[in-house]
């Protein structure tokens, strides 16, 4: 089985393979942040911190314990989620920009602490050995991508997801409806961190080398840009946003040093021309149904309307 998959992967040009895996990891991280910022409406500027915690936990689990990769990833996810819950419990009482700066501060603290710990090899960074699995990494990454998309879609349409959307819409109204706002916020934070932790673990094992400085403020901003570009709260949007922004630096490579210049300009232009993100008001299933000549399900339309009004409501405060 492993050999067969290895053969398939071998057919693809390694350069494209690298881009594909980067896109996959980008999608996983964007989906995680989409749960926190898109679905629950809590602005986080420190998502890279959870990726960092995941990457180092997973790398250390492989190095020190030689754990099988599957269990390693799941354990990494749970550890990251536990840290997020621990951090989230006090800071999620803050709202809006105060929360944003706290997550930013938390991310900087995580970075500096990892830069000073012996176990993370200080500023030298860790060299990560190959993952203990026979399945090639690109397939693992895209397997996790599919799994994440399925899980997140499921959450979107569940009771839990609706509660999160209620919190996004209006916290006081949600509380009046009997939703334990803090609990749901912490849970969504932990869930987003779980996904980010798994993404970090994949990143560590695919790259083979991790350094705390790789997970700085700019990485968090990268992930946030993916989510906002795609359209807050939209799963399809996150996937598309992550694909565009992960691939953009590669396609802009021919411009060499102008690359980041164009990237910055691109962010500004995209926001000016599509302020609600690419998929802000569009739902993928709606599009498919319309293409088939059917009207989207009524419930879907209602949900979309609700999320639209709540989004514009958020914009004003």
């Amino acid at each position: 089985m492993g050999d067969f998959l290895q053969q398939i992967v071998g057919y693809i040009n390694p350069y494209y393979l690298q881009i594909l895996v980067n896109i996959g990891i980008g999608i996983i991280l964007a989906l995680g942040l989409n749960v926190i910022t898109g679905l629950t409406g809590q602005l986080s500027l420190g998502h890279a911190a959870f990726m960092s915690i995941g990457a180092f936990t997973s790398a250390l689990l492989t190095i020190k314990l030689g754990m099988p990769f599957g269990i390693n990833l799941i354990l990494t996810g749970f550890i990251t989620a536990a840290v997020a819950a621990l951090i989230g419990l006090p800071i999620l009482r803050l709202t809006g920009d105060y929360l944003a700066i706290c997550t930013l501060g938390f991310a900087e603290i995580v970075k500096v602490v990892f830069l000073n710990l012996d176990i993370t090899n200080r500023a030298l960074g860790l060299t990560v050995p190959a993952a203990a699995t026979s399945i090639p990494m690109p397939i693992v990454v895209w397997g996790v991508v599919l799994l994440t998309i399925i899980c997140v879609t499921f959450i979107h349409n569940s009771r839990f997801g609706r509660a999160l959307m209620a919190v996004r819409g209006d916290e006081i109204a949600a509380e009046a409806m009997g939703i334990n706002v803090t609990l749901y916020k912490v849970q969504s934070f932990a869930l987003g961190a779980f996904i980010a932790g798994v993404g970090g673990g994949l990143y560590a094992h695919f790259m083979g080398y991790i350094n705390p400085s790789d997970f700085g403020f700019l990485k968090s901003v990268d992930i946030l840009s993916m989510v906002v570009l795609g359209g807050l709260g939209s799963i399809t949007g996150s996937v598309i946003g992550a694909t565009i922004l992960s691939a953009a630096p590669e396609f802009l490579r021919f411009m060499a040093s102008y690359r980041m210049l164009v990237y910055g300009g691109l962010l500004v232009c995209m926001m000016i021309f599509r302020p609600n993100g690419l998929m802000g008001n569009v739902s993928f299933t709606g599009l498919v149904l319309r293409a088939l000549g059917r009207k989207p399900h009524l419930k879907k339309i209602m949900e979309q309307k609700i999320s639209e009004t709540s989004r514009s409501g958020n914009g004003d405060t």
């Binding site: 700066i101 501060g105 500096v112 602490v113 840009s225 300009g265 962010l267 500004v268 000016i272």
Partner: protein, 291 residues
């Protein structure tokens, strides 16, 4: 020793405060975290450098030139990147600001190179003054003095002039201010101009203090200044000053005690701790939640 570190901290803190004021004023009026502000500060430092090195002007003149250039830049950035987004969600404006920040720092890297540059020798003749056991450089005193003058000038503009009144009205309620005949667009441009001028002054002063100007100096300084603004209560001008000074002093104290490798974390640790106790910052107004 204590006095010495206190002066070091206040000098560093006043530069944070200068940058933080720009964040807090812009936030007070259009509730936007202007992430490009740190880059404006970086540009200010570079303009000051070139003014002293190429035009060979006095550093005070260089500072004025830097302030002027940054005023233009700040207003231009607002016009291009934020004004079209004023009606859309705040996150879009935030991403746009981050885009501007990446754009400006990359541009600076391409134009000025990746290496840190120092101000030419003798721009400001530094002397050491000994007071008791403390050695204080005239440069530190200058930084504290200039920051104080600028902040007093700002207080004067905000509280005693007509445009300051318009600023306060706009920050109180954007729509009502517009209904009362205030030209809100002009007020917002003016706010960006003021903030950028202060950041440019901060940039020149920091350039002199550390004698190093580089394309990426805006990021960390911007984040810390933003932390200072939130620490003091974002939207509050005295809060930004207090927050900046507090962060500067604690950072220097932390380094003095021996946490120098944790230097960048100290500011944020203080911030997180203060916000947990006082969620709207030290001097922030209590927000009433309404449905």
């Amino acid at each position: 020793m204590f006095f010495q570190q206190l002066i070091n901290g206040i000098a560093l803190g006043s530069t944070y405060a200068l940058i933080a004021l720009g964040y807090t004023m812009v936030y007070g009026i259009i509730t936007l975290i202007n992430f490009a502000h740190g880059e404006i500060y970086m540009v200010g430092a570079f303009v000051g450098l070139f003014a002293t090195a190429i035009l060979k002007v006095n550093f005070l003149v260089a500072m004025l030139i830097a302030m002027l250039v940054c005023v233009l830049l700040g207003v231009l950035v607002e016009r291009i990147a934020y004004r079209p987004l004023r009606k859309s969600s705040r996150l879009s404006a935030l991403i746009s600001a981050i885009g501007v920040s990446i754009f400006l720092s990359t541009l600076a890297q391409m134009l000025f190179g990746a290496n840190a540059k120092g101000y030419p020798e003798g721009v400001f003749p530094v002397k050491q003054i000994t007071i008791g056991s403390a050695e204080i450089s005239t440069l530190q005193l200058l930084i504290i003095a200039i920051s104080a003058i600028l902040m007093i000038a700002l207080e004067f503009i905000v509280h005693k002039t007509k445009i300051g009144k318009a600023m306060r009205a706009t920050s109180e309620d954007y729509n009502t201010a517009a209904l009362m005949g205030i030209n809100v667009n002009m007020v917002i441009s003016f706010t960006f101009a003021l903030g950028s001028a202060l950041a440019a002054a901060g940039g020149v002063l920091v350039g002199l203090l550390f004698n190093a100007v580089s394309f990426n100096m805006g990021l960390m300084a911007g984040l810390k200044a933003f932390a200072a603004a939130v620490l003091g209560g974002i939207g509050s001008i005295p809060g930004a000053m207090l927050g900046g000074l507090l962060l500067g002093v604690t950072e220097v104290a932390g380094v003095a005690i021996g946490f120098s490798s944790y230097r960048d974390a100290i500011a944020f640790a203080i911030l997180v701790l203060v916000l947990l106790v006082k969620p709207t910052g030290l001097l922030g107004r209590k927000i009433q939640k309404k449905v």
